[in-house]
């Protein structure tokens, strides 16, 4: 389903809250030229790090690559483009893409390298960077459980980018650990409404 060159928003923070079954499937199929949007590049052999090991990622938009020497090497060798984005800016850019806002006005990065090439707005005497929205062709999400309508619940620190990425891709695929009958998840427990989710694939036990 995922073509060469697709932009993938993949949930997870150092692999916690990443859809490992979906990642393995992409590695198995060997779809390349991907743009990866994730908090980080994880570690070699783990989480989204597997996509980088396999040379499938042409461009990574992440906040951190420090714990992945393979990613460091590929970046320095010019084999993978890396756009480093402050974590809070990254999540707001994805949210802006998901909720139809034209950009993010953030104080983060003002006076640093992050400011380069970007528009700065002065609003009521304070300066803010204008950061552009990010959207994906696909969002690949980890979830604690779902129902068959696609309503999602997340677990502890496995929330991270997942609920926001669910808003910001043309096709949303969730990998819940369990799928429950419709009506079992109470409305107040739903963190991502099923109308946002196109496909669900249960995590293999």
């Amino acid at each position: 389903m995922i073509p060469e060159g697709a932009v993938l928003l993949i949930g997870g923070f150092m692999g916690v809250g990443s859809p490992h079954r979906l990642i393995d499937a992409i590695v198995a199929r060997g779809v390349g030229g991907l743009t990866l949007v994730n908090n980080d590049t994880c570690r070699p052999g783990e989480g989204v790090g597997k996509l980088i090991d396999a040379g499938l990622v042409a461009r990574a938009i992440v906040s951190h690559i420090g714990l992945n020497p393979v990613a460091q090497k590929k970046m320095l060798a010019g084999e993978m483009q890396v756009e480093l984005v402050p974590q809070g800016t990254l999540v707001e850019r994805i949210r802006a893409g998901g909720v139809g806002l034209g950009g993010v006005l953030t104080p983060t990065g003002i006076g640093t390298l992050v400011e380069e090439g970007k528009q700065v707005l002065e609003i009521d005497g304070r300066r803010f960077l204008l950061e552009k929205p990010i959207r994906g062709d696909f969002a690949l999400l980890d979830a604690r459980q779902s129902d068959y309508v696609g309503n999602l619940e997340y677990s502890l620190t496995a929330h991270n980018f997942n609920p926001v990425m669910a808003l910001a891709a043309d096709t949303v695929i969730a990998e819940p650990h369990h799928i429950m009958p419709v009506g079992v998840i109470p409305p107040d427990a739903v963190k991502t409404p099923g109308v946002l989710v196109d496909y669900i694939l249960e995590r293999a036990r």
Partner: protein, 217 residues
Amino acid sequence: MDAKEIIARRVAQEVRPGMLVNLGIGLPSMVANFVPSDRHVFFQAENGVIGLGARPPEGMEERDLTDAGGGFVSAVPGAASIDSAMSFGLIRGGHLDMTVLGGLQVDERGYLANWMVPGQMVPGMGGAMDLVAGARRVIVAMLHSARGASKIVPECTLPLTAARRVSLIVTEMAVIEPTVRGLVLRECGPGVSVEDISAATEAALIVPEDVPQMNLG
């Protein structure tokens, strides 16, 4: 007591009751060990939990409960899971009372550089830029020097983390407060004299008449 413990103990004194505190990975995370539990502090891990607790006993780790360094943690009673939008909403929105981070350089303006060494090491800023831009108090916890060179410099030569004056610098040798006038020496480390500090510091220091010893709790 080794240098890192001195720093962690001294930073712990800055934590006031009821605060929401974010501790960076590495040295800053040691601070939690020296904050008394009766201070009712909530620790935030920016990957998504408020009310971070100690590492659980072996065999009781939960895969989905980690800190920002990826290490297993526990959650205290009253803890809350948050997603990244809420986590950084709290940080950028001024709801975080204090952040403690490591540093590569701090300069006379009080500006911090801690996220890259051009041509050598480009780990990325992670959450550091948001933390330094947004937290109410920013405390830099670091060794005074690295490879013989002072990390407290006239002007940062490394890329800045934020163009914001940090609140306090704590090293094993000194507590230094960046102010509008420059860096003010507030306390000396155990067994360290004002002269030792001046000699080990590349940046100009403003030295008040009375510089007490660090209180290590």
